[in-house]
Point group: C2
Chain length 245, copies 2
């Protein structure tokens, strides 16, 4: 087995790179992290808990540079282009569903403090941040929100936050410039413990049973968008910092 030693030493020396079998290629951090991000943003990755150590700097650069802001603007442009094709009825039943965190509000000030998704979610510190009610708007989403209202859509805010956070959430939304939503839906007692994809599908289904047509749905998690009672068009905002199933 001695002939394996140089190979093992080589493998150890390239820690953090993709080395294993014949079909793998070795890549630098940038290619690695771009591919990791592709797998996350397309939902290919499935569940993941923290940003790979190798990609924390990549995520920081992405979130704090032009790319995050511009990706969000392109999503808003695509959303608005679709919204303008919708024929709005006089019945007031044309709806658009928005998630809140990393969709309307940006928690980037919080995630900057705790390392851009490099650590597992800490409910206590996040709840304290929510109570501050000082998350800024995602600029592109704020413009989209206003434009959708002008077009005549009823706006439904569907968040994984809980009822006890209603006051802080309303205060934060107003602080960030969001006004006149039709309804703010938070997790009630019977929604606790449900996966987000189930909870959100159920709430969309309730809206449909009330007679609303959900034309568009905007969210940074695939669990905001998939499941059942899905919108005519779903719009995935970027988020390489955390995953919610």
């Amino acid at each position: 087995m001695a002939y394996l030693l140089p190979i093992l030493l080589y493998l150890i020396s390239t820690t953090g790179e993709i080395v294993s079998d014949h079909r793998k290629i070795r890549v630098d951090d940038d290619v690695y992290c771009e591919s990791w991000r592709f797998s996350v943003e397309t939902n290919d990755a499935g569940y993941w808990s923290t940003v790979p150590a190798r990609c924390v700097q990549f995520v920081q650069d992405y979130m704090t540079g032009d790319r995050y802001r511009y990706d969000s603007e392109v999503v808003a442009e695509n959303s608005l282009r679709f919204a303008k094709t919708v024929e709005i009825s006089d019945s007031g039943s044309d709806g658009w569903v928005f998630d809140i965190d990393e969709t309307l509000l940006s928690n980037l000030p919080y995630y900057q403090l705790i390392g851009f998704g490099s650590k597992t979610f800490d409910e206590e510190s996040f709840d304290s941040w929510v109570d501050l009610a000082e998350a800024p708007a995602l600029p592109a989403s704020l413009s989209l929100y206003k434009e959708l209202k002008q077009l005549g859509f009823k706006i439904f805010l569907l968040t994984g936050r809980s009822e006890y956070q209603r006051n802080a959430t309303e205060k934060n939304l107003l602080y960030a410039g969001f006004t006149n939503w039709e309804r703010l839906i938070l997790r009630g007692p019977s929604d606790q413990g449900k996966p987000a994809i189930v909870y959100k599908s159920e709430k969309r289904s309730d809206l449909q049973h009330e007679g609303y047509r959900i034309h568009g749905n905007s969210g940074d998690q695939w669990s905001d968008l998939l499941g059942f009672a899905v919108a005519t068009r779903s719009f995935k905002l970027p988020n390489p910092m955390y995953y919610i199933s």
Copy 2:
């Protein structure tokens, strides 16, 4: 209105950049094309016909460099990681569905000749290319294919190609190293004209009614993956060259 002239001249001078309203930022080609690609790969863009002129070089670099190949490998790794969690029954009813073009076979040699998606789809030249039956395998997908078979999955190939292309398609699959699929499903007479998302959902539904469980589904188009009778997990391969609805 004379005071508008300098603004108009400024807008004209920055042709190709994002200039319009207050919320837009101006970005260089790389940021622009990365965001365009994000919108395409997440399905936010909806229908699109050709790669934006500004991004043809970006797409060429992406497709012919490390990134495309490595993105595909990460998709295969995610797929295999999930596949290994599936408990395979003795009934032979555990299925995995693969699309063919840009999923198992790469038409990159063809798209290199016609400009990487910069021109609208030309059925005649593409059919001639299909008849050649010389498309190479996507290396990561070929490895995944073999590993899934070893795990005990029945492999279903579900393609938008038509029955008259069955012989050329089988020949090409064998040439590229794919063997022992359970079934190759092509568009029959009654499938012509249907959107891919409907045709493919119907065929997956048929498989489920036959008793197959579709655990995984791999495709480069969202129309391979969404609709109804969706797989337990869907895996989106990269494709910034064309869109099929």
